[in-house]
């Protein structure tokens, strides 16, 4: 026994210190790459935008001042740095327009997310319960709209929803309505556009969580005396919650900052933050204020993202 112990002990140290360091370095490199990506393509642009948001508009190229550079040496840089202030953020609180735009965006995004969930859940459920042979086809059909330009698809809705559009023509020819419905350029049109555009982002995570659920759980619930509807709310829905949360955030986050859909379908009077930002940037050419709007938007959205990550960590901890 002693012999075995004696020979076994050194053998565990055959991985020498340099070898272990090299292995550690490779491991660390793998982790570093995504962080570098985030640094260059998220943090650095964010710092630039943040800096612009602290500047003032100027009729110059670029259209704000100060421009921080070292052409005047360190002292010039520091002088410019001292000119930075939070005036633009104060400005955002003074004009109710911005606050209203943020609130409207959040409300529209929240309602749209709920609607997308209501439409998407049955679709995902049907797909997950479909025979395994046709599931890939159904999945393909959900992804298929991505093959056409997003802009073209939203434009197509104008043709459907406008007063003399396809929907009104159909309803009138069926004598369901006598006057064309006014849908285009209303919030309804925005909801339709967002639900339509973001549906795949809701369906896919829902499908993936429903599909891996063991159907015998539902059978077990029914066997124990639970009617199908009860079994859905007590078993299926709670177990699909990770998918519900993922889907809702994937719809909610981009919907808050959505610009194209409210612009094309919502008409001129809709006040969403994405459109406000566009106007500040392109119509007013006020880069600093639009940067401040963007920074606040980012902060508003970080909260749901953090919530999402926490929920995910919790789900992972539960081993599901």
């Amino acid at each position: 026994m002693a012999d075995i112990a004696a020979t076994a002990a050194p053998s565990t140290q055959t991985t020498t210190l340099p070898a272990r360091l090299a292995k550690g370095f490779v491991n660390r490199l793998v982790i570093i790459i995504p962080y570098l990506w985030l640094l260059f393509f998220f943090l650095v642009p964010f710092i630039i935008v943040f800096k612009i948001s602290l500047s003032q508009t100027a009729i110059s190229m670029p259209p704000y001042t100060p421009v921080l550079d070292f052409s005047d040496g360190i002292s010039g840089f520091l002088a410019g740095f001292r000119e930075l202030n939070f005036d633009n953020y104060t400005w955002l609180t003074q004009d109710a327009l911005y606050f209203n735009a943020y609130v409207t965006s959040l409300v529209i995004a929240a309602i749209s997310t709920m609607l997308t969930l209501i439409v998407g859940y049955p679709i995902a459920y049907g797909m997950a319960r479909a025979p395994a042979t046709i599931r890939p086809t159904l999945l393909m059909l959900v992804i298929l709209p991505f093959w056409t330009s997003f802009l073209i698809r939203v434009y197509a809705w104008i043709g459907i929803l406008k007063p003399e559009g396809l929907l009104n023509q159909l309803l009138m020819s069926l004598h369901i309505i006598s006057q064309p419905l006014v849908i285009l350029n209303t919030y309804t049109a925005i909801f339709i556009g967002i639900v339509y555009s973001y549906l795949p982002f809701m369906v896919l995570p829902l499908y993936s969580s429903l599909e891996k659920m063991d159907y015998s759980l539902v059978e077990a619930a029914e066997d124990l005396g639970c009617p199908p509807i009860g079994a859905f709310w007590k078993i299926t829905f709670p177990l699909s919650l990770p998918g519900v949360v993922a889907g809702c955030l994937l719809v909610f986050i981009p919907a808050v900052g959505e610009f194209v859909i409210p612009d094309l379908l919502g008409g001129s009077q809709t006040l969403m933050i994405g459109k406000t930002l566009w106007n500040e940037f392109f119509s007013n050419r006020d880069w600093p204020v639009s940067s401040a709007v963007a920074v606040i938007l980012l902060l508003v959205l970080t909260i749901p993202i953090m919530f999402f990550q926490q929920a995910q960590a919790k789900a992972q901890e539960q081993g599901r």
Partner: protein, 379 residues
């Protein structure tokens, strides 16, 4: 008193013509598209019986269980439970509970909540639920695991939670789909006896589906052997083993030697069989087969005696050569090649430590058996 096997059974309602059947499958057929899973099957199960459906995968045994639970409706035929036709009654209204093969424990609920689930559906008052859950936890010895989630339990513990959950509602019938399939061998053997004790204690009717013949033999009062959607034989484990009615059943359960042959003649109290290769066999229980008909004589290995000399008093003795020997400790298995070429498997219980008549490879040997040692099969 003579009896098949070594157990005397006092609980035998199936032999009582006045006993009321509890579960009745009446000419039940189940088709999935073109595939017939269960074919015109009739079966009767009695109250408090431990009934096993035994068969290879795809034989229709699980479909039968799922029809009883209400997850499938028969394509034709009726299923009666305590005289009531179950057709159209959804699973959640049937007084039967099922223990699933995968256990189907709700992963987002604690052990306690899992067990309480069915009771809550019933609308049982809270304090009663608590009492029943505590009782169930005690029954399956999981008191200290009440607050755990299923993924924090071992396989054996999960199995016991599933069991507790399915008996918590005191169903009229408990259905068990491969209840021990996911356990390792040692745990499985222990649990077999636990299940039998539990069934006795609660006085429930158990219907268990299994592909493991040892499991069925150990636990069940009666076994239905199934093949291709049909019941081949329904009988006690001893009858299944000692008196199979078909080649399939004889083959399916345990080891067996089959002699192809023909009934040569019936005498007053014996039947003489001529083997296809010339062996002469005399049996005293071959009365059902007509003289001249082709039959199979089936005999279990342990009913055959192997010796180096022809036993003086043997009615049936065939000569051959030792082809293979395997010493297994509790018994020794011989493969004897008879002079007509057939290989016979014989096993000898090593009841004593010393053997008078040792045999080895290529020895000349005789196999002998009593006239009532085997069965004559006509199908």
């Amino acid at each position: 008193m003579k009896s098949l096997g070594s157990i005397r059974r006092d609980f035998a309602p199936w032999n009582d013509p006045n006993a009321k059947p509890y579960i009745q499958f009446d000419k039940v057929t189940k088709k999935f598209g073109e595939f017939t899973a269960v074919n015109n099957l009739s079966l009767t199960i009695f109250e408090r019986e431990f009934f096993a459906l035994l068969g290879a995968s795809g034989c229709g045994k699980s479909t039968l269980l799922r029809m009883l639970a209400g997850f499938e409706e028969p394509t034709a035929g009726r299923i009666l439970l305590d005289g009531q036709d179950l057709r159209g009654i959804p699973p959640y209204k049937r007084p039967v509970n099922m223990m699933f093969q995968s256990y189907a424990l709700f992963p987002h609920m604690t052990v306690e909540k899992n067990i309480a689930f069915g009771l809550k559906q019933e609308g049982m008052p809270g304090p009663d639920i608590e009492r029943r859950v505590a009782e169930m936890l005690k029954l399956v010895k999981l008191e200290q695991f009440a607050k755990r989630k299923p993924h924090q339990l071992s396989g054996g513990q999960r199995q016991r939670v599933a069991l507790a959950r399915s008996v918590a509602k005191r169903p009229k019938v408990l259905l068990l789909d491969e209840p021990l399939g996911a356990l390792d061998k040692k745990l499985r053997e222990e649990t077999q006896f636990e299940l039998m004790d539990l069934q006795q204690e609660l006085g429930l009717t158990f219907v268990v589906v299994t592909h493991d013949q040892e499991e069925a033999m150990t636990m069940a009062d009666r076994i239905a052997i199934m093949d291709k959607g049909e019941v081949m034989q329904v009988a006690t484990p001893a009858e299944i083993y000692e008196a199979p009615t078909s080649r399939f059943v004889a083959h399916f359960v345990g080891n067996v030697n089959m002699f192809e042959g023909r009934v040569a003649e019936h005498t007053a109290n014996a039947t003489r069989i001529t083997g296809a290769t010339g062996a002469q066999i005399v049996v005293d229980n071959g009365g059902n087969a007509a003289a001249g008909s082709d039959i199979v004589f089936a005999i279990r290995p342990e009913k055959i005696k192997v010796s180096s000399k022809k036993p003086a008093d043997a009615v049936n003795a065939l000569e051959g050569e030792v082809y293979d020997v395997a010493y297994l400790g509790d018994m020794t298995v011989f493969h004897i090649r008879l002079d007509d070429g057939q290989i016979v498997r014989a096993s000898a219980l090593n009841a004593s430590r010393v053997t008078e008549d040792p045999l080895t490879w290529n020895d000349r040997a005789w196999v002998s058996f009593r006239p009532d040692a085997g069965v004559v099969l006509t199908r």
